[in-house]
């Protein structure tokens, strides 16, 4: 068992040692159910798919994911455990990945526990389960992107609330970048290539196509590279700020 796995296990267990994990999962499930069945008109649409379920995820994650991410490094710095952790014989990489993957796994667990919605769709009709599976993975990747932003900003401060607010703000920007309304405002006076570049950085651009069943490896690749970049930034921030 490598150090990454040991840290991963410790972090994941510590989520479940406090009510945090349970509260997160319960609220995630309740809000998801409410949005899908009431707001999304899951029944009224008369279609056997999970589109209304996934459509709300970018907005749901906007508040749920930063809440998980905010303590990731801010607490370590506040309590001084970062000094303990980083003077143990481990790589910084293992510490960053272990902590990140544990939080990502928690979101994954919450996402898996939405399976009754999937069963409902299968009971009522005959949805394309391949599309649903891809959308689940896509949603998890998108949550991972939010989480990577949160991890990096959590490393910037000792105060989890500041980390939360900063993370929500940055995530809003990345959600809005792909929003047709915003892009429409730019059309006509900004070169198309720049509009395309901006829109390609947006979460919605990539997530929309994934959730609609358009399977394009590039969309997953986008989230993968996005996560890697923010985690690398976390490493730089931790190196610079751990003393203060």
């Amino acid at each position: 068992m490598g150090n990454l796995l040991i840290i991963f296990k410790r972090e994941l267990l510590s989520y479940f040692a406090t009510p945090l994990a349970y509260i997160f999962i319960v609220i995630f499930l309740v809000v998801n159910g409410f949005l899908t069945f009431d707001f999304g008109g899951f029944y009224a649409r008369g279609q056997a798919d999970l589109l209304p379920f996934f459509a709300f995820h970018p907005f749901l994650y906007l508040f749920m994911v930063p809440a998980i991410a905010m303590t990731m490094w801010a607490d370590e710095r506040k309590t001084g455990t970062i000094e303990l952790l980083l003077t143990l014989p481990i790589n910084l990489r293992d510490a960053i990945l272990g902590k990140y993957l544990a939080a990502w796994a928690l979101i994954g667990i919450a996402l898996c526990l939405t399976f009754p919605i999937w069963i409902t769709a299968n009971y009522l009709g005959d949805p394309d389960n391949g599309v649903i599976f891809a959308a689940y993975v896509g949603s998890w990747f998108m949550a991972g992107a939010y989480l990577a932003i949160g991890a990096c900003l959590s490393a910037c401060t000792k105060n989890p609330v500041i980390a939360f607010i900063l993370t929500v703000t940055i995530c809003v920007i990345f959600v809005l970048l792909g929003y047709p309304f915003l892009l429409g405002m730019l059309t006509g006076w900004v070169p198309q290539i720049i509009i395309d570049a901006i829109s390609s950085m947006g979460f919605l651009t990539h997530f929309d196509s994934i959730s609609k069943g358009v399977f394009d490896v590039r969309d997953f690749l986008f989230f993968g590279v996005f996560i890697a970049a923010w985690l690398f930034a976390s490493a730089v921030v931790i190196e610079l700020k751990k003393a203060s």
């Binding site: 150090n3 410790r10 001084g80 455990t81 980083l86 003077t87 751990k242 003393a243």
Partner: protein
């Protein structure tokens, strides 16, 4: 062996550690002293690789902390200032986690954990979450994780801070027992601790070494070293009887007690026999008569304030 060469650490414009060089050998217990803000904790953070130096190097048994951090860190056990640990874990879970990171697997994990639980007497709280523990227990949890892998080098930042006298005594005994074939560096501002456990003391002020030696050597630098302390039953002019003795210096009155006088020795030479002969010959009204040792506190104040005065 720990070799520290020209270690310097700047924070923005402020130089916390200024060109520090020293080596520590096996079997030495080094007490690291200095006023608050002198750079004790920063030095420890540099030695353990938590911070990177601006200049200079630290090597642990030949492993440079920057180029071979994993090897160097494996040789060290470290108790950071304030003994941080993961509050939401139980003592047992936390120590198991540290044992795993230290490379123990399978049954060995529990064996190691049990050994340190016994060693620092933590068995009674092994199932409690660390955040519910008292300060003394938290400190011991920190010590337990530091000695988990029986490290060659033990670095303890204020290990007895916040402990009651019994616990302090216990921790000091522990350090003494550990020290035989190891290197121990402890930072402290409790000077009695240095005399109690350290074989060597370094005093730093404003990031520089201002004194380095065995506790006895440092005590000898005190102006009270070899001084004779006398308590009189009535007023008597001691100084008049002592003029002409080359080794005898000033006579000082005690700050707290009007009848206690200290006869200082010039150059650290023993003056006890000379003074006692005069006392008998002149029939001093003496009720107490003894040689005082040099006081570390006095040396500490002198060397650290000289440093500030020089700035």
């Amino acid at each position: 062996m720990i070799e520290i060469n020209n270690l310097t650490k700047n924070f923005d414009q402020f130089t916390a550690i200024d060109d520090l060089s020293f080596t520590v050998k096996e079997g030495e217990v080094l007490g690291f002293l200095g006023p608050n803000g002198a750079g004790k904790s920063t030095t420890m953070k540099l030695i353990t690789g938590f911070l990177s130096p601006s200049h200079g190097s630290v090597s642990i048994d030949g492993f440079d902390i920057r180029s071979s951090p994993i090897e160097a860190k494996s040789l060290m056990g470290y108790l950071p200032e304030g003994a941080p640990s993961y509050g939401d874990m139980t003592t047992l879970e936390f120590l198991k986690f540290v044992a795993q990171i230290r490379g123990y697997r399978g049954e060995e994990i529990l064996m190691r954990v049990k050994r340190v639980l016994d060693e620092v007497e933590l068995n009674s709280v092994s199932q409690q979450t660390i955040e519910t523990l008292s300060k003394g227990f938290k400190r011991r949890v920190g010590l337990a994780q530091a000695i988990m892998h029986d490290p060659k080098v033990l670095i303890l930042d204020e290990p007895t801070d916040g402990l009651d006298p019994n616990q302090k005594h216990h921790v000091r005994e522990l350090i003494k027992n550990l020290a035989r074939d190891k290197i121990v560096i402890i930072s402290t501002h409790i000077l009695e601790e240095v005399t109690a456990v350290c074989s060597r003391a370094i005093i730093i002020a404003q990031g520089r070494i201002v004194a380095d030696g065995t506790p006895a050597e440092l005590e000898a630098r005190s102006k009270y070293h070899q001084a004779v302390s006398v308590r009189l039953s009535e007023n008597y002019d001691l100084a008049a009887d002592l003029t002409g003795l080359a080794d005898v210096g000033d006579v000082e009155k005690d700050n707290e007690d009007d009848m206690v006088f200290r006869i200082l020795a010039n150059g650290g030479n023993s003056i006890f026999s000379q003074v006692s002969e005069i006392a008998q010959a002149k029939n001093w009204p003496v009720t107490e008569f003894h040689v005082s040792r040099g006081q570390l506190e006095d040396v500490f104040r002198t060397v650290t304030q000289q440093k500030q005065g020089a700035q």
